[in-house]
Structure formats: C-alpha cells, structure tokens
C-alpha cells in the first residue's frame, strides 16, 4: 500500500504467517470449514469498502430526488393510479387521506455533472462530480427490521451472514493486527436499534463476524487488561503461556496448538493496535478540521469517518458505519436538518481525504439507508411540518471511488417519486455489484449450510455494469 499504517508488519516467520490469516486462525482441524477457495472472479476494482449506513430510511425527497411536480401538487391526494395498490405499513394503511408533501428544502444542480442535491447537503453537493448517485434503488421490505436485515444480509429473515462477513470469508484479511471487518456506530443516537446480526457471521464461521469498535475506555470488548495487570506483566505471562503450549505442541499430533498460540499472540497485538488506530491525536489539524467540529469528539459520525479512513489504511477489508435517526414519520424538516448536520460534512470529507491520499481508487464508499420514504404525508400536513412513511419502491444511494463512475446519476423515478421508470437497481443487484467491484462473482461466493449453498444475493442479483467505469 502506498499510504502508511503504523501497524503494518511484514511476514517474518511461520507463526507470523498463521497470524496473518488475521482472525482466521482456524488451524489444521478447521481448514475444511474455513478455507474458501478463491473462486475465479472478475478483476477487482477495489480492495475494501467503507459503508456509511444511514439507518431509518433517509428521505430522498429532501436530499437527492428532486420532484417539482410533488412540490406543485402539495396537499393534493396521491392518485390511486400511481400507488397501484402497493401495500402500506400499518401506520398509514388506515389513514383516510394520502396528501402529497413538498420538500421543505430547495434543490440545485451541482458540478459539471449537474447532479441534483438539496441545500441540506452542501458538502456532499460540492463533491458531486466524485459521486455516483443511484436514484432507482428498490427493496422488498416495508418495515425496518426486515429491510435492514435484507440490505445487509440478503434475506429478510435473520440468520444469514452479513455483507462484511461474506467479504471476510471470500477475501480474508489484509492485516495481522486488526479484524477484517470492523463496525463503528455513532454514539448517543436514537432510532431503530442496531443488532449484532447486521454484522453477524450467520452460519459462516464466527471469525468472520464484524467486530464493533466503541468509543470510550474499552474500544473492543475485553481489550483492556484487568486492573493490576500491566502490559509488561501480561507480556511475560503470555510468554509463559506460550511455553506451556509449545510443550504440548512437541507431543506428536498436537500441531494445531500453533493456532492457539497465534490466537493469544494476535490478541496481544490487538491490545496495542486497536488503541493506536483509534487515537486520533496524531492527525494534523487540517485533516481533522476537514471532517468538521464533531471529529474531535470520539464516537460521533465525524470521528468515525476519520477512524474509518485510518482503518482502511491498515488494510481492514470492510468498515461498516451506522448512523441512526433517519426515520422521520413526523417532524421531518427539523429531524432531517439535524441528521444532515451530523453526516454531510464528514461524509464528503471522507471521500476527499481518501482521494487526497490516493486511496479512493481502491476504496469504495457507499452512503445510504434501508429504504426510502413516501411522497405523501404521514400524520398532519402543515406548511412547516410533516412526516413521511416507509417506501420500498424507490430511494437514492450514492457511492464513490472503487471503480464506480464519478459524476453519474443513474436511474429515474416518475414525476411523483413513487415508482421507478428507468434502470431499477434492486438490493440484490447492488450487493452483486459491490462484490463484483471487490473481484468476486456473487454467484460463486457460496457456503453450504443445511444442505444448500447459500450466497449473499440468495438466488437473485445482477451486476449493474452501467455503474462501473
């Protein structure tokens, strides 16, 4: 890698080699479960993904999908011909009237590409020419849990491996000090709960699970030594533990104890490498400032974006951020303003920062939620206030880097912003495309479980080649 990571160490010994399997210390006995023969796949365009997941369903009407007709027809009933019997949630399903609601925020076109972005996202708008907007995303689920589970695991029903786990399984780790799949959640937010299944390994071996990094004293669970055990004492104790293991390893047939030794050695290295990577004090001011004032406050979305870049530098394969709070059934104008203040500048800064370091070429950044929102109002519609219900039929997501076309706005919704009229991209298509970008044929990355070969895209999904350079 061109950029520097403080923790990078070359391979020097067999033990190091075992360690370099990252979290994959399966050892001989587990080889059959863990080893993934790299399937022949497309040429990789990126080596890692930073996924900025916006949980709750950001409203495309206030952010990216400009709909003058809805603005004009503000307060008028959604024509039945547009809805076509689409099922509604139990929250608006018994509402007597479905009045169209205009965006409270103005839109303008930006950059040479002329992408429409609202005034809520000035920083993102300023890098519009770096971004690839997909305005024609659609999904199947209409409630949060099934929708976010579907987005991140390919199935609405809990139990499948998450996207990052599939990548860890398919591509392994690029570093020997950190997990291949790291999860960062904005602190102190409320909204839909985030559950570990969203970064869980499902039926894949658990070494592929995402590891949550938390702001605060114990950034990875149980990373810190107990009170009264200094690093020096721990090192000596682990050396003796290793000697005990090596005694056993000398007995015939117990070679797999090497994996146990490597497991404890990597745990020890993580005790240094994780605090190192999370300590932002060595970042120059101009970089921190680019991410905005929140970046100095650990656990905020801004600080997590900066941390994501550092993890990417260290070769972490999949870095998943979660930012909650986009579920604006009511009080949308006020709510979304706060959300954008928290995410706009850091999201744009991340893309810019990666680009400045030459990392945008092999890093894919994705920004988006689990579904969109309705063009009609939920609850009382006033000039100043309104809400929007869940809408699975269309929503917008953007990507940057990693061989996707910059300055592209792909797909189109109808004038009501209700249905897609051109180039739909299903969630499974997006998943297939993301895997493709990392050099994986989504139909070939499979794991046999309960008699069936499973994959991230279930039995669906087509690579959306039009998004790729």
């Amino acid at each position: 890698m061109a950029h520097e990571c403080h923790n990078y160490r070359p391979i020097t010994s067999r033990r190091d080699f075992l360690g370099r399997m990252g979290l994959g210390l399966g050892g001989v006995a587990l080889a059959s479960l863990v080893a993934m023969k790299p399937p022949p796949g497309p040429v990789a365009r990126a080596r890692r993904i930073i996924y900025l997941f916006q949980s709750g369903g950001p409203s495309q009407f206030e952010l990216f999908d400009y709909k003058p007709l809805v603005n004009q027809m503000h307060g008028e009933e959604l024509p039945a011909s547009v809805r076509q019997g689409q099922r509604l949630t139990g929250m608006t399903g018994f509402q007597n009237s479905l009045p169209l609601a205009r965006s409270h925020f103005d839109f303008a076109q930006h950059g040479q590409s002329g992408a429409w972005v609202s005034e809520l996202m000035p920083h993102v708008a300023s890098i519009a020419d770096e971004l690839c907007f997909v305005r024609s995303m659609h999904t199947e689920a209409i409630n949060h849990d099934p929708a976010i589970t579907f987005f991140l695991t390919g199935s609405q029903i809990a139990g499948r491996p998450s996207m990052g786990s599939w990548l860890s399984y398919g591509l392994g780790s690029e570093n020997d000090n950190l997990p291949a799949f790291c999860v960062l959640i904005t602190k102190d937010k409320s909204g839909q709960p985030l559950y570990s299944r969203l970064w869980g390994n499902g039926f894949l071996p658990s070494l592929h699970q995402g590891v949550q990094f938390r702001s605060g004293a114990d950034p990875v669970l149980y990373l810190n030594n107990p009170e009264g055990v200094s690093a020096k004492v721990r090192r000596r104790m682990l050396t003796r533990l290793r000697e005990l293991h090596e005694l056993k390893a000398q007995e015939p047939g117990f070679e797999e104890i090497e994996a146990r030794i490597a497991q404890y050695e990597m745990a020890y290295r993580m005790q240094t490498s994780v605090p190192d990577v999370m300590d932002l004090s060595d970042e120059p001011d101009h970089v921190v400032n680019m991410y905005g004032p929140d970046a100095r406050n650990p656990g905020t979305f801004a600080a997590n974006c900066l941390l994501a870049r550092r993890l990417a530098e260290c070769g972490v394969r999949f870095i998943q951020l979660f930012h909650q709070g986009w579920d604006h059934h009511g009080g949308l104008p006020g709510g979304i303003r706060v959300q954008c203040r928290e995410t706009d500048q850091p999201s744009a800064a991340l893309v810019t920062d990666l680009k400045q370091r030459g990392m945008l070429d092999d890093t894919l950044v994705v920004w988006g939620g689990e579904f969109g929102r309705t063009n009609y109002c939920q609850g009382r519609l006033t000039d100043e206030d309104y809400g929007r219900d869940h809408h699975p039929r269309c929503f917008t997501l953007w990507m940057a880097g990693g061989g996707v076309k910059a300055g592209l706005s792909y797909g189109r919704t109808d004038d009501f912003g209700y249905n897609i009229v051109q180039d739909p991209v299903h969630v499974h298509d997006l998943q297939a495309t993301l895997l493709h970008i990392l050099g994986i044929d989504h139909e070939k990355l499979t794991f046999k479980h309960q008699g069936r070969r499973y994959r991230l895209t279930d039995v669906h999904g087509h690579v959306t080649r039009a998004l790729l350079v």
Binding site: G90, F203, Y222, G228, V229, G451
Partner: protein
C-alpha cells in the same frame, strides 16, 4: 392415493434390487443426475417439462412429446439420445461439458435394467444390522465397537490404547454433565473403589446432566428470553427451559419428549407440564415493530415451526420447499404447505401480548386465579350468545355493509380483516356455524349495545384483577376453535401474499404415510414422527448425541440427511444405534449415552501418531478418542466450577452475570442489564438472560448461535476475541481470583499450590516441564507484585499480597491453557 401406491412401488424396487445389478441408482446414477441434470430438470426448474427427481415424471411425456426415459429401452429414451448427441446444439447438459462416456454407459445400462429409482438410504426405515466380525474380538465392549473396529480393519488401522484414566474421567464428566470432575471423583475412579461404569451412572443421575443436555436442546428450540426482531422486547418463557432440564433429568423417553413439545396441548387432559412443553414452538420470534402486518409475521412463525420440525426430527432441509419443489430430494412444493397446515391453526398471531399464555399464580392466589379464569370463560360464552341475538344481529348486518371503509374494518384486528370481509360477502343464510360464530364474535368486540358493553367492561375488570395478581404468563400452543380455523394455501414462491391452491394437512409422499386412523392434526403428526415406520427420527437423534460426544456426527451434516448431505461414515452403526434407541432403550437417552460412553471406542486415548493423523485427519474412523474445543456454555461453567464459584442453583428467571456497560442500547426498551447479585452472578451459562439481538458477548464469541432460528451444529472457530475473553472478561478474571484463593488453601508452598490448580483444572498432574514453566511464571509475577503492592491489591481484588497476585496470574494461565479449553 396415487402417490402412496408409487411410494410402495419404490420400496418394492429396493427389495428387488437385492439381486445386485451392476449399476446401482444411489451410487452410480443419482450422483450424475444431481450433479449434471436436476439443476434444470428438477424441483426448481422443470425445463422442457422434465423433472428427474421422480420416476413417474421422468418416464412421462415431456414437452418434446417423448419420454426422457423408457424403462428397459435405452434406445427409445430421449435422455440417452440427448446426452450422447454429437451436435452440441442438441447435447445435454446444455452449454456444458458432455457426460463422460462411462457415465453415459451407466445411464444406458441402468435404463436397460428397468430404470429403477432407489430410495435414498435415509428414507428407508433402518433395520437392525448384524454385528460384523472383527480382527480383535477382545477389544469391543459394546456392540457399537464391532462396527467401528470392522471399519478400521477394512482400512488397515488399529484402535488407540485407552485414554489415561484422569483424562477419561474429565472427558466423560464434561460430556455428561458439562462440568469437569472433582479431583476426589477422579481419584476414586482411578485409584479407588469406584468402577468407571458406576461413575457413569452417578453422572447420569446428577442434576447437572439435565442442564448440560438442555444447553444443546435449547439451540434446536431457538430458546431465548426475548422476542426477536427490531425491538426484541423481553419474553417470559423460562418455564420451558426448566421443563427441558427436568425432562432430561427424568429421562423422559424421547418419543414422549417429542410429542409433548409438538402437541402437548392436544393430549387428553394435558397437564400443566405438557402445556409448558409446547412452548417449544412459541420460541419463534414475534415482531413488535410499529406498523407491521401481523399476518406476515404469524406466517413467518409458522414457517419457522415447519422448518424447525424438519431440521430437528427429520434432518431435512425442508425450508427449500417453501418456495419451490426440493432441488434434489423428493419433496414437492405443495407438500410443504400440507405440512404447514398442521401448524397453521394455533391461536397465536404475532400479537405483542404473546397470547395465548398459561398463567401461573403465586401460591396464595391460586384459588382466586382459577375462579377468575373460569368467570372469563363464562363471560366469553355469554357475549357470544348475546351477539347472536336479533337486535344486535341487525346492527351487525348494517356494520357489515360498511366494511370497505378503512375506519370500520380498521377496528378488526389485522389478521381477521380478510376473513371478516370474505364472510361478510357470503349471504347470511349460507354461512356455516363457524362463519356465524366468527362474525358474531368479532362484532361483539365493537358493538355499542349496552348489555354487551357491560359484559365487556366486566371482562375488563376481571382481566385487571387478574393483572394485579400478576401471574407468570408463559406462551403456549393452543389450537383454534372451529369457527376461527384458518385455511391453508400453497404460497407461490414462498410469499404469503401469493396464495395458490388450498391444501389440507398431510405428510410428504416420499415418507411412510400417516396411519389411516391417526388424527390429522399436530398430535397425529408428532406421533408419526416417532412411529416405528418413520425412517429418520431415530437416526437423526442418535446422530445428534453422537456428535456431541465425538465432535462430528456419523452423518456430519446433522441437519441434512438428504441426498446432498454428507454420506454417513458408518451407516450400519447409525442404524444399529437408531434401532437400539427405539427397541433396546425404549427411547431412553440415558440408555443411549451409557452405551456410548462405556464403549471401547469412546474410551480411547485422543493422542495421535503422525501416521494416524495422515490417514484420518478428521478422526472420522475413530481410531482414537475425541479431542475438540468445549462449547461456550462449558467454557464458562468450567471456569466457574474449578474456581469454586459456580452456583448449584437450578431453574427460575434468567440471570444477568457481568457484561460491559452500554451493550443494551435498544431505545424502545427501558430494560437495563442489571448485574445479578450474590450467587446469581455465578449461575450456569444456561440461565444467562438470552437476548437475541444482543446476545451475551462471551457466548457468541465462543460460537453460540443467536437463537433467532434453529441451529443443529455450532461451527467451532478460533479467534483472538476468544483469547481476550479468557484473559480479560471480568467473569474469567473473577474465576482466576477465586481459583488462586483455592490454590492457596490447597498447598503449603508455591509448587504445591500451582500443582493443585493444575489438577483442579485438568484432573491430572502437570509434568516436570509444565511445573517449571508455571513456577517461572509465578516467580516473575511475585517479584513484580512485591514492588507494586497496589497492583497486587487491584488484581486479587483484596489483599496487597504478592503471593496471591502471582497465583492469580498463574490461575489465568491455567484457565487459558489449550488443554483446559479442549475436551481431550
């Protein structure tokens, strides 16, 4: 009926095959069909209207107007013509490499010999195999040993010598109770008066036995203390967990164990215990997210019940058939929904209140509670009677005409809306009794009639009073009354929104039919599962217990005995154990386990020579004893046990041992993780609060599932996060502190104390080198803590004692030894 005749026909063919033709369907033909053909001509896709899973369809006219297979006539069979075609345009498989010429030859010969479809072995009922002859008749102690040794003979391998006694005692104690042995017990067996068989009986009688095996069963039952999905609110269902512990401890025969869990409510005069048993299927998730369609998630729960039943008892990936015919195995799409119909008529419907539940009143309130329940039932009857009377019936008729208005139909709870609309379109005179009751009962809930209002208010009062008694409510299964019975339809592509043809309850044709006189309900279905005719249940069950003891099942894929699962390593052994469980043991699991752990196979040493390792790297042939990592539960329980902290308390509400702050961040839920006080901090892992979306960290780190759905097999992995748990999780730090105190009390000097700790943990003495290494660790640590007394106090949690601090660190090393984490 037609299918039954065919099924009999297949079985007849198997018998007919005993003459031993050169080509056998299962070994020579099915692999070709599965690998090369059924992807396009099978259960999912039937291109050219051809399905090669069933003989009846493969020999029928296909789209081409020709049958693919004409038995006895390879020359007339389109299949042969197409696979042997020289023109790639016509040759099958399309756009793929042609079949090898031996494969074509085998297909030809097979068709010439009649194209007999053999049943896959797992769908033919097991028969007791004769015990094979072996090279070393003195080795076997149990019948099962003959099967193992015969195979080793065939492979030119020899069994390993017996394991050292302390190692064996630790192995069998962990296996049967989930805990390591007390040093005194090890001594009694290895040096003293207690015979191994007697010790095994003691372990089987220990209350710890039920806890250990419940831990396995609860993965299958997807037991958790929360409802799952987004909000993952708490659920009170621990009485079911306790039922499982008791059932194992009482050695409830596995057939009863099965029937009570699947259909205890349908038994005559079911006992409270039998009702609690049915909570097995109330462990499905409930979605309490706002705005969800309750019918969608009720259906999801029924689907889960079907899939779980097939995984647990039949080792079959039936979930495939939810969306389409099975890709490889002989199960048809509509058969999924026939089975679904067994489960589709219970009263639960994804409601937040978990209705129906079984109340348990405090002892003082039992009489009052029973009276209240009785009055509620009487009121319900009175309300129904009243609702069918004229005046109210008139108002209802008017109401029915307005059902197309959202605010009117909105008053009906979700799942009944469609049914109410449908019934309202049936002219009143043509409604049957069930339909009349349905609509009357729904209307009775919302009618403004003053008498009804009074009765409803009285109902409300009673419910309030009952609420004040605050009984423990455990969700159970309850069959719907006749007027509320649901229809079952095939769901096209598995979607509950796409209803196909209506079906009635039944079992798949590939398996023996339900007996004619069996009830067509869950009870009949459960009894069918454990009937002698069922070829799968006993096999799947013995295989599950075998896997727990040996680390790998005789069929490695515990969850898939179908044609795509792994072939059994010892089919005759599997059948021997299956028949023996049913006939010799009368379904007693203790009897099964006793026969296994007293076998020579089980008692072998797990040490392995390089040659044996090369010959059998995964120990499938069992020329050595098992060696594999303990389960998440065992790792916690063992650490607490050897340190003397483990609480022996059994049963009751789940407990909350220490976990890091801030994990429970669910904004919908005011519940907090409140660390349990006193002994409840140190209960067995089985009693830890299990929240599905935020499982207890050390459990998932050591590969436990989340219990969102049924899991047969935990994959064992090895990650640095596990090392961090063993070293730094406060639970394990406390265990080290306590073990250090125990060590201090068991020896006069450091070497004897270190040895005592080692023996407590591993049941055997350390060798000299291990002793020296532990001593070096101890001395270095002691020197350090002499200089840092505050650190010593922090580490021991009490005294500024360098000795105790050093012992604590040594205890940590012992608790993190590979040998400690493994069963050897």
């Amino acid at each position: 009926m037609r299918y039954h005749i065919l099924a009999a026909f297949y079985i007849g063919l198997i018998a007919g095959c005993a003459r031993g033709p050169d080509v056998e369907f299962n070994t020579d033909i099915r692999p070709i069909l599965n690998e090369r053909c059924v992807g396009c001509h099978g259960g999912i896709q039937r291109q050219g209207d051809l399905n090669l899973l069933f003989r009846s369809e493969a020999t029928a006219m296909a789209e081409s107007g020709k049958p693919a297979i004409v038995p006895g006539q390879p020359g007339q069979s389109e299949l042969i013509r197409r696979v042997a075609h020289s023109d790639p345009e016509y040759r099958m498989p399309q756009d793929d490499a042609p079949l090898a010429s031996e494969e074509v030859r085998a297909l030809r010969q097979w068709i010439r010999e009649g194209a007999a479809w053999e049943q896959h072995w797992a769908y033919v009922a097991p028969e007791r195999p004769s015990v094979p002859a072996v090279s070393w008749p003195g080795w076997p102690q149990r019948d099962l040993d003959f099967f193992i040794l015969a195979r080793l003979d065939a492979e030119g391998l020899e069994p390993s010598p017996p394991a050292p006694c302390p190692t064996l005692v630790r192995r069998v104690t962990l296996d049967l109770t989930g805990l390591p042995p007390e040093p005194e017990a090890t001594h009694a067996v290895c040096n003293g008066p207690l015979r191994y068989e007697q010790y095994v009986d003691q372990l089987l009688d220990s209350p710890r036995y039920g806890e250990r095996w419940a831990a396995m069963w609860l993965d299958l039952a997807r037991y958790a203390d929360s409802k799952g999905y987004e909000k993952d609110i708490g659920r009170t269902i621990w009485r079911y967990r306790d039922w499982v512990v008791q059932a194992f401890n009482k050695d409830k025969p596995f057939d009863q164990f099965t029937v009570e869990q699947l259909a205890g409510d349908l038994l005559p005069n079911p006992s409270e215990d039998q009702l609690i048993a049915t909570a097995f299927n109330r462990n499905t998730m409930t979605n309490t997210e706002g705005g969800t369609d309750d019918e969608e998630f009720r259906t999801a729960a029924v689907v889960d019940r079907v899939n779980t039943t097939w995984e647990v008892w039949q080792g079959t990936s039936f979930s495939c058939v939810q969306c389409h015919g099975h890709p490889y195995d002989p199960f048809r799409h509509h058969e999924y929904y026939e089975f679904f119909a067994f489960f589709n008529n219970t009263a639960d419907r994804d409601f937040d209140d978990e209705y129906p539940t079984l109340p348990q009143f405090d002892e003082a309130d039992v009489a009052e509670g029973a009276a209240l329940l009785e009055e509620l039932e009487a009121l319900e009857r009175a309300i129904l009677r009243l609702a069918e009377e004229d005046a109210i019936a008139k108002a209802r008729q008017l109401w029915e005409t307005q059902l197309n208005r959202p605010e009117v139909i909105g008053q009906v709870r979700n799942m009944l809306q469609n049914e109410v609309r449908r019934v309202s379109l049936v002219p009143e005179a043509q409604r049957d009794a069930a339909q009349r009751t349905l609509i009357a009962s729904v209307y009775a809930r919302i009618s403004p009639d003053s008498q009804l209002i009074a009765l409803r208010e009285r109902q409300g009062d009673i419910r309030r009073t009952m609420g004040e008694l605050n009984p423990l409510q455990t969700p159970i299964m309850q069959e719907l009354p006749a007027h509320q019975r649901r229809r079952t339809y095939v769901f096209e592509r598995g979607s509950f929104l796409a209803r196909g043809e209506e079906v009635t309850a039944g079992t798949p044709r590939a398996l023996p039919p339900l007996p004619e006189d069996a009830p067509r309900n869950r009870l009949g279905m459960a009894q069918w599962l454990v009937s002698d005719a069922n070829p799968l249940t006993a096999r799947v069950t013995v295989n599950r217990f075998w896997e727990q003891l040996f680390g790998t099942g005789i069929v490695e894929s515990l969850e898939d005995f179908g044609t795509q699962g792994y072939a059994p390593s010892h089919l005759e052994l599997l059948d021997h154990l299956a028949v023996s469980l049913r006939e010799d043991c009368a379904w007693s699991i203790k009897c099964l386990l006793r026969s296994i752990v007293t076998s020579s196979t089980y008692q072998q040493s797990s040490s392995v020579t390089p040659e044996l390792k090369a010959a059998d790297p995964y120990n499938r042939l069992l020329a050595r004893g098992p060696r594999f990592r303990l389960s998440a539960e065992q790792i916690r329980d063992q650490a607490l046990h050897v340190s003397g902290l483990l609480s022996p308390a059994m049963y009751g509400p789940p407990v909350m041992p220490p976990q890091p702050d801030g994990l429970w961040n669910n904004p919908y839920d005011g519940r907090r993780w409140t660390t349990s006080e006193g002994d409840d901090r140190y209960r067995r892992a089985l009693y830890t609060y299990w929240r599905r979306t935020i499982p207890y960290p050390s459990m998932v780190t050591f590969d436990s599932p989340t219990r969102e759905y049924c899991v047969s097999r935990r994959l064992r992995t090895n990650t640095p996060l596990q090392a961090l748990v063993g070293l730094n999780d406060p639970v394990f730090v406390e265990a080290a502190q306590a073990l250090a105190r125990r060590m201090a009390s068991r020896g006069e000097d450091a070497p004897s104390r270190l040895a005592a700790g080692y023996v407590l943990a591993l049941a055997h003495m350390p060798n000299n080198k291990a002793r020296q290494t532990l001593m070096s660790l101890y001395e270095e640590a002691e020197a350090h803590y002499r200089e840092h007394p505050a650190d010593a106090a922090a580490l021991t949690g009490a005294a500024e004692s360098a000795e105790l601090a050093a012992l604590t660190l040594a205890a940590q090393a012992i608790l993190n030894l590979d040998s400690f984490l493994m069963k050897e």
